[in-house]
């Protein structure tokens, strides 16, 4: 399974596991070094997934959903749950079932099926129950005119792209928070909240006049107006996009940068925290179950009120990793705690926080991460609102069609698994719902202590990493033959962009293996890419949560242990060391992981690190692998584009290199190519081949950019140019100034003391074979 096709490595199920064959015991599992884990993309679309227009059948004891792995007694109209072996009768409407007349969920190939649910069955008005999505834009106004213009035009564009029935709200903030009442026709009307004071959800509701009057309707009757939203009073603030587009446009035209004076030598006073509180409070007045996102556009650090990350005094820099390490970031913990409370509130309401941060300095993504990640929000970090990273990403959020993100709301993931399998937790954009059960492990990693998770926002590429453990009870007494298979079932319910409630059920099975007997099978079940990504995610998590965690050493130790266990070697003879092909790429992943931004955080700000990690955690394995180990493609006259070694040696004067490191895409022209280009050969008809050569990497880069969210930064550079550092930083420093003598002509060297891959391997071999 590890060699699954490149095109669709995750298949219909969108599940990839570090080990596709599991050892039977906890002890054995721990010897495998790499944790038992699955990466799932809960709602990744696939053409083969059947859509079933009815509700699923659930096992009456474990509530697992009927699936292709259930044994069915057609005569007795009974199905046996593969998880708990409970025998369940089919309900009457399944009476027609027979070996030749199977419902969709029982087709063996449909291990993943999707149910379209009606949450409020209403035969007369099937549309009535579909709550329109809500978008509350939260705009920072503490920025220079130019930036504000950028962001305004982006906003206007976005509002134009919203579905007509989507409800829109607008909040701006600076020193204070301004909630714009869009439904007030007489004049522009704004509720102003002070930025310096923490405000509870009840206060927000009361002060916006949504208090008693606003909430009463939400409790009892889902009364619905003709345009589909409940009359909770909140419609003063949230208007259908089609109704308020004009209002918003004028409003944005008149919107000024924050007018409160900024003292010289000080940062603008910006109350991002309160703005979030207020927006979350506003959304609290929506009907429960309404899918809503707070789309925050932030241009700088929060300096006012709760959630402050740095003082206003410019002489005090925003915290760095070093400060965090030394506990010298006085605002950090308090801010995180505050954003955590926001996260809790949003999760309880089922609403999402999206963060679009554009600033040269940090804005506090590290602190806000918790709120964004727990709610499944999107995050984009750019240098400017005028930059394509922001502009294009932002536009993408609202675009329809092929490239749409497929933003869904109110997701809930439940996992059922076979006995003896314990769930330690989930890493990724979700929140534990604290639903305890027999399958909950004692140790927690990420969002744990549960078998159900809330994903307030999710989209078709959202991925989660589930970490498993095995029951510590000795299993040897159980005959293996009886159940050589184990099952995992992922149930994801959510509201799709149209507001329909869907339930997707993925049931997968894998084999137990007695690793004490055969490690061969175990070996073949190893998924190096997934394992590398899981290691990266676990490492990131540990770095964030464990004090004094030494990531490099931990990774090294695990790699050495892994190699010791699965490598072929003679003790104490490094040269004898070989690795099974199933493992052969793994050390290199680890090498690159050690050098990556995830581990070497000191090259980045805490904001960037938080940003990288959030994306690492939410992307699928393939993309996450690119983040760890970028892909490099070489373009030259002599050959078709081909993958090149991620090595400085790949640089050549007559080549163009295309580096995809996920966050940035670098088109790198060799020296000669650059010279030709500068001389304009590509414009001459006889050199059309050159023009095509120049064009090819650009076109490929565009392809990548189009499919990716957030939109990566595109760097086009020439050899020896200053921008070339984006490439060089990612390459294996096989040629440095220490050994510059033996490099090929036209290649390059990297000025670094970092060890090269070769040196790393040598050490690895030596340590792995040590007894």
């Amino acid at each position: 399974m590890s060699e699954m096709a490149n095109m669709d490595s995750e298949g219909i199920d969108a599940v990839r596991m570090t080990w596709n064959v599991w050892p039977r015991t906890k002890v054995e599992a721990s010897k495998c070094v790499i944790p038992l884990a699955a990466s799932i993309a809960p709602i990744r679309p696939h053409t083969d997934i059947p859509m079933l227009p009815y509700a699923p059948l659930r096992c009456k004891t474990c509530s697992a959903v009927l699936n292709a792995f259930a044994r069915v007694d057609f005569m007795a109209k009974i199905w046996i749950c593969p998880f708990c072996y409970q025998r369940n009768h089919f309900p009457p409407h399944y009476a027609m079932i027979s070996e030749t007349n199977l419902p969709g969920e029982l087709y063996p190939q449909y291990t993943t099926v999707q149910y379209a649910l009606q949450s409020f069955p209403d035969p007369n008005n099937s549309n009535a129950t579909q709550l329109p999505p809500v978008f509350v834009f939260v705009l920072d106004t503490c920025m220079i005119e130019e930036e504000l213009e950028f962001v305004k035009s982006a906003l206007k564009q976005a509002i134009g792209l919203l579905p007509e029935h989507a409800l829109v709200g607008f909040v701006s903030f600076g020193t204070q928070v301004q909630v714009h009442e869009l439904g007030f026709s007489d004049m522009s009307k704004v509720y102003v909240f002070r930025g310096s004071k923490e405000i509870s959800r009840e206060q927000v509701l009361e002060q916006l006049g949504l208090g008693s009057a606003g909430r009463r309707p939400t409790v009892g009757y889902p009364k619905v107006l003709q345009n589909g939203y409940a009359n909770t009073g909140v419609n003063r603030f949230l208007l259908p996009a089609s109704d308020c587009e004009y209002t918003l446009d004028t409003l944005l035209d008149e919107l000024q940068t924050d007018q409160w004076p900024v003292q010289a030598g000080h940062r603008a006073s910006r109350c991002t925290g309160v703005a979030f509180s207020v927006s979350a409070g506003l959304l609290a007045a929506c009907l429960p179950g309404t899918g809503a996102r707070i789309i925050a556009l932030v241009g700088g650090p929060c300096t006012e009120g709760p959630g402050t990350i740095v003082s206003k005094d410019l002489s005090e820099p925003v915290r760095s990793h070093k400060d965090l390490d030394k506990d010298a970031a006085p605002y950090f913990k308090k801010a995180v705690k505050f954003y955590d409370s926001i996260a809790k509130q949003l999760v309880s309401q089922g609403h999402v926080l999206d963060l679009f941060a554009s600033a040269l300095d940090q804005v506090g993504v590290a602190e806000m991460k918790v709120a964004v990640e727990r709610t499944g929000g999107l995050v984009v970090l750019a240098e400017s609102f005028g930059h394509s990273v922001f502009k294009d990403s932002f536009k993408r959020v609202f675009e329809d069609g092929e490239h749409s993100l497929g933003l869904c709301f109110n997701g809930m993931l439940e996992i059922n698994c076979s006995k003896d399998i314990k769930i330690q937790g989930v890493i990724g954009p979700c929140t534990s719902l604290e639903k305890k059960g027999p399958n909950v492990a004692d140790t927690v990693i990420g969002e744990g202590n549960t078998t159900a998770w809330k994903m307030c926002g999710l989209n078709k590429s959202t991925s989660l990493t589930v970490l498993f453990d095995l029951s510590s009870t000795e299993r040897s007494n159980v005959p293996g033959a009886a159940n050589s298979q184990f099952y995992l079932q992922f149930l994801t319910s959510y509201q799709d962009p149209e507001g329909k409630t869907m339930l997707r059920v993925t049931t997968v099975t894998r084999q137990w293996v007695d690793s004490t007997v055969s490690s061969e099978e175990l070996l073949r079940g190893f998924d190096q890419e997934t394992a590398a990504v899981v290691m990266a995610r676990v490492t990131s998590l540990k770095m964030e949560t464990e004090e004094g965690f030494d990531a490099t050493r931990w990774l090294d130790r695990n790699l050495i242990r892994l190699c010791s266990k699965f490598g072929d070697y003679r003790k104490d003879d490094p040269s004898s060391f070989t690795l099974n092909p199933c493992f052969s790429l793994f050390p290199q992943f680890m090498f690159n992981l050690r050098r990556s931004q995830f581990v070497q955080v000191f090259n980045n700000s805490p904001d960037e690190t938080a940003y990288f990690r959030m994306l690492l955690n939410r992307e699928n394995i393939t993309n996450a692998a690119v983040m760890i180990q970028p892909s490099l493609i070489s373009y030259s006259f002599n050959s078709l584009p081909q993958p090149a070694l991620l090595d400085v040696a790949s640089i050549s004067a007559d080549r163009i290199l295309l580096l995809d490191s996920y966050f940035s895409i670098v088109v790198f022209h060799g020296m000669t190519i650059a010279q030709w280009r500068n001389m304009g050969y590509q414009n001459q008809p006889e050199h059309q081949a050159f023009a095509e050569l120049l064009q090819a990497p650009q076109a490929d880069a565009q392809m990548i950019i189009q499919e990716r969210f957030p939109v990566p930064r595109l760097v086009v550079c020439d050899q020896h140019g200053s921008q070339a550092r984006f490439l060089l930083a990612k390459l294996n420093p096989s040629a440095t100034y220490n050994n510059s003598s033996d490099i090929a002509a036209g290649s390059d060297i990297i000025f670094t003391d970092d060890v090269s891959l070769q040196v790393f391997f040598e050490h690895l071999q030596r340590l792995a074979v040590q007894s």
Partner: protein, 1104 residues
């Protein structure tokens, strides 16, 4: 009182002459108020334009004057400062030109309020008139002419400040102007100057005035010549009547001036029957002049006569009877009881209003001249002491010892009204600029240089009249002394020859740059406010008043509305429309924007107007019943904090939420009756300290709050009023608010509030000569340290009571000085120090004290002290206290001064003969009655706290006029019909009566009123049709016209638009009227006669 004053003769003369002008004057006088009247016109409430009178108004003069004045004010001062000192010639020239151009207004000094100017010219002549100079003649003639011409217009007077036809003015100006031109010149010019001061005030007043004055003063003295005799006469002669006569002529002249003299002898006649005059009117004009001549004769005659003119104001009385009057002998025979029956109700003392302005010089010779009654019409010439409008003392001679004062049982206190509105004919206050060094001050007590500082040692040193310290004269202020021991330049320097001057404040008087004029309007838009029309009325009033705000870039405005939240508006011009900013947190408020909430008027006018038009409709469907008054003013305060300014709040319901929320205490009090009886006065205290704390903070940041309460329910004024009181503002109370009749008053009140002379961020201190010290201040202000009062805002209507006490003995024959210094910022951003000086003789004679007692001031003092007690004492106690104050004074007089020992007689000092009547009225007043609503009483005593002396008397003893026959008078004289005593005996069933107290006006319909009169006056024919709400209308018949004129005159006099209520016999509304009949016996107290008997008996008891 008038001891030093020259005998009546000279004055009378003056008066007489003036009288002729007088008609004009009145109009002018009212002119200030005119602004109000004008407003009315604008509103078309009263006046049809068709009226001849109205004609003049529209004329440029008319309208501009009222307002401009205020605006002019600023301009004027600026120009003047330089002028004033050196008496620069150039300035002179310039001015004359000015005068013609922008006649009245431009000229008006800062001090001078609006449109009075007209009258001025006329007035001047008289003083001179007495003299021979040709100039005077011309002027006088001019004056005489004017009157005639003026009359028609004057009749109109009510109409506008401008009333006098344009024509008149010019003439007056002309006369004055020539003089002015001459200023530098000879005496004649000088004289002219003084005479003309008023009008020319502008130009001439300041510069020329100074130099000229001396001469006039001197001149005047000669005339005084006679006075001396008077002086002597005083002591001996008891001519109560005389005075009364005089008084009548002077003060009451309007009604019966001419005749009065004749009629005066028959006291009963005059008072009891005000009407006799039908004739008087006609003659007036003429008689005026003759009067002078005649006066003397009058006096004698009057002497014998009984105290016909109750009003027997001190002034006139002073000269003659100097001492004590035992005017009406009550119940002469022994037994009070029986006596009472014998008392002739027609002979008991009653006030007689005077409408004819008299000219009053503050000092004569070298001594203080007792001031005319505060309620009379007079024109002041500042000859060393300040105008009594600015400061007056309860006794015009200062007892040398505290014991003497105690014996007299009188109060020693000053009533200070530093920004008081001057008569238009008076000289403007001169502005003196000492440059960067600032005004010369005593280095010990910091008293400001004044005419009473004595220069010695060739002028090298001066002795402070306040603390007695000898200071070196600053080198550049040195001047040699003349043979008379005065500085040679004394007459050229206003600060050395004027009782009131204004110094330009130097840097050291500024903590910061003078603040801009900031006006913040805060409007209640809760459901009730919107539905009762209060919101619309407020918005409309503000909208109309915008154009009256001071011009210029220093004027800033802001606006906010509130219900259960506070709505600010961003009025910045860059926005297409105003932006509403809501502050929803009413427990902990803040301002929604640092800038843009308060914007320069010139930048936001359109937005503001648009907004004000929209607000009523915008909130029309509001269902928010709550009102967060406290939070709203706090938020507005925060927005204004950096500058300070005026916060004008329109509030309609009980503040129920947010900071400083109040509860309906009144209702709670009622349900808990046992508590309410004992603790009734607790409801008159603020509910808690929150608002007080806020108020002090406001005051600290120079935010002055005025609250316009437009309500139909209880709003707890006792609590709310703490804010305006502490910040130098005031409460306006419209209860029950009527969308029909109240908007006009609301507008006029607001307009006056904004256009009246006023200052910001003020500090005031009163200094006294050694031996006397200030005991306490009371009024609308914030006091942080004992010696000073902080006034976030001060305006011409605000009066402060300063109680004094002895801390040492004073020298008999010396003078005791009082100096009130007010440091403030004008609406145009100039920092000024207004220094008001009063120097009074000291005496060891008890009889002198009684003779010089100032009734109006004493009573105002009573009134204010009673008002202070109301919230803290049971009602009964307050009443007893008031009664005892009166009794004790009379007792003291009886004991120590009464020469006749007929024990059976109640003997009243002439100067205080009305004290019992006023005391009785006070006991029956709204604040001291226990049948009123809590809010009414709260409003009453808050209103009193800042009330000026001239308005204090009518508040308790209102004026009543018959209006069913206002057309019967003969055309040309005083507009106001004679007043009627407040006794139901004088109210006929077939009459319609107007009763006004300066704030409210009741129109009472007898049960059998002639329907044609009703039709003419009100447009309905039956008493049964009397509506509950009333809007003044003018119909095209003389009766209606005259009625409107009367009302307008009153409005002008009171600087108040008056709140009208219609009362019908037998109705609850009728009860309100009846309860104002203070001479009647009713549930609230005895009849006047009974009360006199009561007092008499008490005195007799104490005597024995």
């Amino acid at each position: 009182m008038a001891a030093p004053v020259p005998p009546g003769a000279p004055r009378p003369g003056a008066n007489a002459r003036q009288q002729s002008p007088h008609p004009n004057f009145n109009p002018n006088f009212q002119t200030n108020p005119n602004s109000l009247a004008d407003n009315m016109q604008n509103m078309n409430l009263n006046r049809p334009h068709s009226m001849p009178n109205s004609g003049p108004r529209p004329s440029p003069f008319g309208q501009p004057p009222p307002f401009p004045q205020s605006s002019v004010t600023a301009g004027f001062p600026v120009a003047s400062p330089p002028m004033s000192r050196p008496g620069p010639p150039p300035g002179m020239v310039g001015r004359p030109a000015v005068i013609p151009a922008g006649p009245l207004q431009s000229t008006l000094p800062a001090n001078v309020p609006p449109g009075r100017p007209v009258g001025l010219p006329v007035s001047h002549p008289p003083p001179f008139g007495s003299r021979p100079p040709p100039a005077s003649l011309s002027s006088s003639t001019g004056g005489a002419v004017l009157p005639s011409s003026a009359f028609p217009s004057s009749g109109v007077s009510s109409a506008a400040a401008a009333p006098p036809p344009p024509g008149t003015r010019p003439s007056s100006f002309v006369s004055s102007s020539p003089l002015i031109g001459g200023p530098a010149g000879p005496m004649s010019s000088a004289r002219a100057g003084p005479s003309s001061n008023g009008p020319p005030a502008v130009g001439a007043g300041a510069l020329p005035g100074a130099p000229q004055f001396p001469p006039p003063a001197i001149v005047s003295q000669p005339p005084v010549g006679p006075p001396p005799s008077m002086m002597s006469a005083r002591a001996p002669a008891q001519a109560p009547t005389m005075r009364s006569v005089l008084g009548s002529s002077a003060a009451s002249s309007p009604q019966t001036p001419p005749l009065p003299s004749a009629s005066s002898p028959f006291p009963a006649m005059t008072q009891a029957r005000p009407p006799p005059p039908g004739s008087p009117y006609g003659p007036q004009t003429w008689s005026m002049q003759p009067q002078q001549g005649t006066q003397p004769s009058h006096i004698p005659g009057s002497t014998h006569a009984q105290p016909p003119r109750m009003f027997g104001m001190p002034q006139q009385a002073l000269p003659n009877q100097a001492m004590t009057n035992i005017p009406p002998a009550l119940g002469q025979p022994g037994a009070p009881m029986s006596g009472s029956s014998k008392i002739d109700p027609n002979q008991i003392p009653r006030p007689i209003p005077n409408a004819t302005p008299i000219v009053y010089e503050t000092r004569h010779g070298n001594s203080a001249n007792p001031p005319p009654p505060a309620t009379s019409d007079y024109i002041v010439r500042d000859t060393g002491n300040c105008s009594p409008r600015y400061m007056r003392c309860t006794i015009n001679q200062i007892p040398c010892t505290g014991d003497l004062l105690t014996t007299s049982a009188m109060q020693l206190a000053l009533l200070v009204q530093p920004m008081s509105l001057p008569h238009p004919s008076e000289d403007p206050i001169q502005v003196v600029d000492f440059g960067e060094s600032g005004p010369v001050r005593c280095s010990r007590c910091k008293g400001y240089i004044n005419p009473f500082m004595k220069f010695i040692d060739q002028g090298r040193k001066f002795i402070c009249n306040l603390c007695g310290f000898t200071d070196d004269t600053p080198r550049d202020y040195h001047c040699n002394l003349g043979p008379d021991g005065r500085r040679r330049d004394a007459d050229e320097r206003p600060e050395l020859c004027r009782g009131t001057v204004e110094f330009v404040a130097s840097k050291e008087y500024m903590v910061r740059d003078p603040m801009p004029a900031v006006y913040f309007f805060l409007i209640d838009v809760s459901m009730n406010a919107v539905q009762t029309g209060a919101t619309a009325a407020a918005c409309s009033a503000i909208n109309q008043v915008i154009s009256d705000l001071p011009e210029g870039t220093r004027t800033q405005v802001g606006i906010a509305t509130f219900d259960s939240t506070i709505h600010f508006y961003n009025l910045k011009r860059a926005l297409q429309q105003p932006l509403m900013l809501i502050v929803p947190d009413i427990q902990d408020v803040y301002t929604p924007l640092e800038t843009d909430v308060i914007v320069q008027l010139s930048e936001c006018r359109q937005h503001l107007e648009l907004l004000l038009e929209n607000i009523p409709t915008m909130f029309q469907t509001s269902t928010t019943a709550e009102s967060c008054f406290g939070a709203a003013i706090k938020a507005a305060f925060l927005a204004m904090k950096s500058t300070g300014g005026k916060l004008l709040v329109f509030q309609s319901v009980l503040p129920s939420v947010g900071i400083g929320a109040l509860s309906s205490r009144e209702a709670e009090g009622r349900t808990n009756i046992s508590a309410s009886e004992k603790e009734a006065h607790k409801l008159l205290q603020p509910a808690d300290k929150i608002l007080k704390t806020m108020a002090i903070e406001f005051a600290e940041y120079q935010v002055c709050v005025d609250v316009f309460v437009t309500t139909q329910t209880y709003v707890d004024i006792a609590s709310i009023s703490v804010i305006p009181r502490t910040t130098g503002g005031q409460v306006y109370y419209y209860y029950p608010f009527s969308a029909v009749s109240d908007p006009a008053k609301l507008y006029n009140d607001l307009r006056w509030n904004i256009t009246r002379p006023q200052g910001f961020e003020a500090v005031m201190r009163v200094r006294c000569s050694q031996g006397i010290q200030v005991q306490d201040y009371s009024g609308n202000f914030c006091k942080r340290i004992p010696t000073d009062v902080d006034l976030a805002g001060i305006d011409c209507d605000k009066c402060i009571l300063v109680t004094l006490k002895h801390d040492d003995k004073l020298q008999d024959g010396s003078e005791c000085g009082f100096q009130c210094a007010l440091l403030y910022t004008t609406v145009y951003g100039q920092r000024r120090i207004r220094v008001t000086n009063l120097s009074l003789p000291c005496t060891n004679m008890l009889s002198n004290l009684f003779r010089s007692a100032d009734l109006d001031t004493q009573f105002t003092c009573f009134l204010k002290q009673a008002a202070i007690e109301i919230p803290t004492c049971p009602l009964l106690q307050v009443r007893d206290h008031v009664t005892n104050l009166c009794i004790n004074i009379l007792l003291s007089y009886r004991k120590f001064c009464a020469t006749v020992s007929s024990t059976g007689q109640l003997i009243l000092p002439e100067a205080l003969k009305l004290l019992p009547l006023y005391t009785l009225a006070l006991i029956k007043s709204r604040g001291l009655r226990n049948d009123g609503r809590i809010d009414d009483r709260s409003f009453w005593f808050n209103y009193v706290s800042s009330l000026s002396t001239p308005l204090a008397i009518p508040l308790v003893y209102p004026r009543m006029f018959a209006i069913h026959n206002v057309d019967t008078k003969d055309g040309d004289e005083s507009v106001l019909p004679p007043t009627i005593p407040l006794s139901s005996e004088h109210v006929c069933d077939d009459g319609i009566y107007l009763l006004e107290n300066g704030e409210d006006a009741l129109i009472y319909f007898g049960s059998s009123v002639d329907s044609s009169i009703l039709q003419q006056l009100f447009g309905f024919t039956s008493v049964d049709d009397v509506p509950t709400q009333f809007v003044m209308q003018q119909f095209s018949n003389p009766l209606s016209k005259n009625f409107n004129d009367v009302v307008n005159v009153i409005r002008q006099q009171r600087c108040s638009y008056l709140r009208f209520a219609l009362c019908k016999k037998g109705d609850p509304s009728g009860m309100a009227f009846v309860s104002c009949m203070v001479e009647d016996k009713n549930a609230n107290g005895p009849s006047y006669v009974e009360f006199l008997v009561h007092i008499h008996r008490q005195i007799q008891m104490k005597m024995s």
